[in-house]
């Protein structure tokens, strides 16, 4: 047993897709062709880390929908935050947004989430200690890089854990500090970089903000697909960039871009492409990016709300104010 001294967990059931993720992911690498990866809902990941005494940046496990099981091979404090689901430790209920110390051998199970929400985040004291790649432990699913062997987790995978902080207690992330989940999401965006008047008409943007967009089944960490809509467009064609007015010469995409792929809006997620030749009508602001991780395909709907730079900054500030040890209560 080469690893007998090492703290670890063993994956028993990964569910639809489970990956090692951290916060804020592999940032600063856009010009090298890397979107940041990292927790698709950074708020739930950071809260889970706070609950187990980890730095908010520590790596944990992003679970999609649920149907997940792991076994602790060492004593560890665990917390699960995110989409509503039945969570148990050796069959005993563990509320989500609550941490509990557990002994080696304990089985952690997350049931299939009935919603609202779509992803859960498992934090373990000490954090998941896979090697860093370009400054992050996040898994980049499209590139096959980072995380655990560059791939989603499979049964039998053993994830090493780092050294715990020692500040391990049963605690609850205060309800008033928890984000609100629903089936109808309001997502804050800023217009552009390619919107009115050069690329889309005022009527197009009014429709963009008025519509309740359904989340398509084929949404994942790369992008959230919405539904085709016949925009009027400000131009007849993309000119030298292509026949469709959504075409532009290839340019960099921002994280959270609402990309119009022809007439199909796609919100670019944390594993999305860094560049391409479609207009970006609006961009999700930093303080609202977490919502992308909780959009549930088939059923959830999205409305975009335009905010000013000041409002965007304020959203971010509010979020940071809630994500502190002051939001933890001993239980």
């Amino acid at each position: 047993m080469a690893n007998s001294g090492e703290r670890a967990v063993e994956i028993r059931k990964p569910g639809v897709q489970a990956t090692v993720q951290d916060y804020p992911g592999r940032s600063g690498m856009l010009r090298q062709g890397f979107f940041p990866s990292g927790a698709m809902d950074n708020v739930a990941m950071r809260a889970a880390n706070l609950l187990v005494g980890n730095p908010q940046a520590a790596a944990g496990i992003e679970v999609t929908l649920g149907g997940f099981e792991l076994r602790l091979d060492a004593d560890a404090t665990v917390a699960v935050c995110g989409a509503r689901a039945e969570v148990t430790l050796d069959g005993q209920p563990l509320p989500i947004w609550v941490s509990r110390p557990a002994a080696a051998g304990t089985m952690l199970a997350i049931g299939v989430s009935p919603g609202p929400g779509f992803r859960q985040y498992v934090a373990l004291s000490g954090g998941v200690d896979v090697p860093e790649l370009f400054g992050s432990r996040a898994t980049y699913t499209m590139g096959g890089l980072g995380g655990f062997q560059g791939r989603p987790l499979a049964p039998g995978d053993r994830l090493p854990l780092g050294a715990p902080s020692g500040d391990e207690r049963a605690r609850s992330f205060r309800e008033s500090a928890r984000p609100a989940y629903g089936r109808e999401w309001r997502i804050e965006v800023m217009r552009g970089p390619q919107a009115t008047p050069d690329f889309l008409t005022e009527a197009d943007m009014a429709a963009f903000f008025d519509r309740s967009w359904p989340v398509d089944r084929n949404s994942n960490r790369t992008g959230i697909r919405l539904e085709s809509y016949q925009f009027a467009w400000a131009r007849d064609s993309g000119g030298v960039a292509g026949g469709h007015p959504s075409n532009i010469l290839d340019n960099p995409y921002p994280v959270g871009a609402v990309n119009l792929n022809g007439d199909l809006p796609v919100i670019l997620g944390p594993d999305g492409p860094t560049a391409g030749g479609f207009v970006v009508a609006a961009t999700v602001v930093h303080g609202a990016l977490w919502k992308l991780g909780q959009l549930r395909p088939v059923g959830d709907r999205v409305r975009f709300r335009e905010v000013t730079p000041d409002e965007a900054t304020e959203l971010d500030r509010e979020l940071a104010a809630r994500l502190t040890a002051d939001s933890l209560d001993n239980v």
Partner: protein
Amino acid sequence: MTDRTIKALLPGVFYRRPSPDAEPYVTEGQQVRGGDTVAVVELMKSFHEVTAEESGVLQRFLVEDGDAVEAGQDVAVLGE
């Protein structure tokens, strides 16, 4: 006795056949065994199998090809 059901474990879009031109996995009235695939659900650009947990006669489907289903939704009735 009450009929048993087969459930979709994931939300997504329901299909009774592996590809548009293929035969359905099972037809109504057919005997299935535990573990048999009876349909697929499309989610996140992947197809996830819907399997019968136990043996029985698949009496009827409760959803149509191409319908949206929720996690845990009954998709077929299994009888003796």
